[in-house]
């Protein structure tokens, strides 16, 4: 494994992106605007006027925005690790081409995750800027939420890459989005504090990576009190990234160099 090799894979990701970025413009720019408009402003007004405003102690839009940033990073991270990885392995076999050069599986994986990190940073910065334009947070607050969002996205990307490399076909990907990503999106504290959940499901939320990401983004951006120590959340996400990377190297090896 060499760092240089991984960086070449990152570079390839950037070159491919130069040609394909148009396809992701909507999710990068339009989705944050739509969500902040519909949920933050539309729904937020109702929340703020009702009893929700009192229990949150801050405008709903402000409460929502950093959590939504974490959730958007999750979706980018999982997205980049699903269909594009399946294409690399199976549909276009571009990974096979890469591995016939001096690049090896670990470099391929770390280069892939490296490129995802670049993408996550870009997407999160754009999101934070839009948050600021909406008046949800100040510019500094928004940018403070970017690093934990990238960490969150990377945890998902790392785990989902390992998962995708195990799949025979894309049906497992649709299932993952339907049964894992969407429920996490809805119930990990993005839209409402998890204390609102029935007591017996509340502990479940604590083990979801997205909840930790949301906590970190919100805590850093808004200076709110953390439910668990932020170092625990950071460590948890870092451990997930490492576990995903190890599993990813294993599953990609089995798949690509049998």
């Amino acid at each position: 494994m060499t760092v240089v090799g991984s960086l070449r894979v990152v570079e390839a990701g950037a070159r491919v992106y130069r040609r394909t970025w148009r396809g992701s413009v909507i999710s990068t720019f339009l989705n944050p605007i739509l969500y902040l408009l519909a949920m933050g402003i539309g729904l937020g007004e109702l929340v703020d006027e009702g009893s929700g405003g009192a229990s949150l102690d801050l405008p709903y839009l402000t409460f929502l925005a950093p959590g939504l940033l974490a959730a958007a990073a999750m979706q980018t991270g999982a997205g980049d690790a699903s269909y594009p990885v399946m294409a690399g392995i199976k549909w276009r076999k571009t990974y096979e081409a890469t591995l016939s050069t001096p690049i090896g599986v670990p470099e391929l994986l770390f280069g892939h995750l490296g490129w995802v990190t670049v993408r996550l940073t870009f997407v999160s910065v754009v999101f934070a800027a839009i948050m600021t334009l909406f008046g949800a947070t100040s510019a500094v607050e928004g940018m403070l939420a970017v690093p934990p969002a990238v960490l969150t996205g990377l945890a998902f990307s790392s785990l989902v890459t390992a998962y995708t490399a195990k799949l025979k076909n894309e049906m497992g990907l649709a299932a993952m989005f339907r049964f894992a990503i969407v429920p996490l999106f809805l119930f990990s504290g993005t839209f409402f504090p998890i204390e609102q959940l029935p007591d017996y499901v509340e502990p479940l939320a604590y083990i979801t990576p997205l909840w930790h990401g949301v906590e970190l983004c919100r805590g850093l951006a808004l200076g709110l009190e953390y439910t668990v120590h932020p170092l625990i959340s950071v460590s948890y996400l870092v451990v997930l990234i490492a576990v995903g990377a190890v599993l990813g190297v294993m599953t990609l090896r089995r798949r690509l160099i049998a």
Partner: protein, 308 residues
């Protein structure tokens, strides 16, 4: 003789229970065009992927360019070119971008790559396609692009896995011509194919592979001399009567092979055999007399045809 460029002893590849390559031995000398001829599933690609230092061996020893694929994979891959069986191009990118990205994996600078791209696109007659996307290119053009890509690092050894499968005759001949030129420039070629004419045209020496084993080895002409007669007479009898007719053809030729749609008579003089067949009162619907080919060698070694 100098040290071989590639040398395998007892080379074996298993996929779980399945034995894809079964303890084969071979040597490839520098500057030669070496072929693996065999039907679907013979183990050609599995062998190529081991030589390409991508797929680990199950057993045996393999040296490539004097190095050990298990230990020196990246160094080996840096010095060889690979044309895989499937065109694994990035269809969203242009011809140039495919070559650029691939070249960068070898650590070549953009300036060096740009120079080579110009030369390689001329060589593969794709100059006017440099900036077009890959997706709409014809099969033959894609194949030529994969070959150009495999040459971006000026390899000493080029591995070609079924370079012309799926191409029309004109595209095949163009490719053969390019491969022939590479060989003249001193590039060692290892080619797999299930086309006997391709093997005869391109290979100095080849092995015939079947079910993971090597059935025979030699120069195309030698193999034909050793395992077949000089000529072959093909007789086509009415549907369903090949075997019945063949039973009574004994003695006319050295050997008789019955295929589902025709009977082959192995003889040193096909015209002579033809007269004898007619004299004996047989009435084949059509006859062809021809020289023996590697297809006949394969048939005589395995009892089956190469392309089914």
């Amino acid at each position: 003789m100098a040290n071989p460029l590639v040398s395998a002893r007892g080379l074996t590849k298993h996929f779980d229970e399945l034995v894809a390559v079964d303890a084969i031995d071979f040597d490839v000398q520098e500057g030669e065009a070496f072929g693996f001829l065999g039907p679907n599933g013979a183990g050609k690609s599995s062998t190529m992927r081991m030589i390409g230092s991508v797929s680990p061996l199950t057993a045996g020893t393999l040296s490539v360019l004097g190095l050990d694929p298990a230990r020196d994979g990246p160094q080996i891959r840096a010095r060889i070119g690979v044309v895989p069986q499937d065109d694994n191009l990035d269809l969203e990118l242009t011809v140039y971008e495919n070559l650029l990205i691939y070249g960068r994996y070898f650590g070549l600078s953009k300036a060096v790559i740009d120079g080579r791209v110009a030369e390689l696109l001329r060589f593969t007659q794709l100059e006017d396609r440099r900036d077009s996307p890959v997706d709409p290119l014809s099969g033959g053009m894609k194949r030529r692009l994969v070959i150009a890509r495999g040459l971006i690092n000026t390899p000493e050894l080029l591995l070609l896995d079924e370079p012309t499968t799926g191409l029309d005759p004109q595209a095949r001949h163009l490719l053969w011509d390019r491969l022939y030129r590479l060989k003249q420039e001193g590039v060692t070629l290892i080619i797999t194919t299930h086309y006997m004419d391709e093997a005869e045209q391109l290979c100095d020496r080849l092995v015939i592979m079947d079910k993971g084993k090597i059935a025979a080895e030699g120069a195309p002409r030698d193999l034909i001399d050793r395992y077949s007669t000089r000529e072959v007479l093909e007789l086509r009898f009415p549907v369903g009567t090949q075997a019945v007719n063949a039973e009574h053809l004994d003695g006319i030729a050295h050997k008789t092979e019955v295929l589902p749609d025709r009977v082959l008579l192995y003889t040193d003089n096909a015209d002579h055999a033809h007269s004898k067949v007619l004299q004996a009162g047989f009435e084949p619907e059509s006859t062809v007399s021809r020289r023996s080919t590697l297809e006949d060698v394969f048939l005589s070694l395995t009892g089956r045809t190469l392309v089914d």
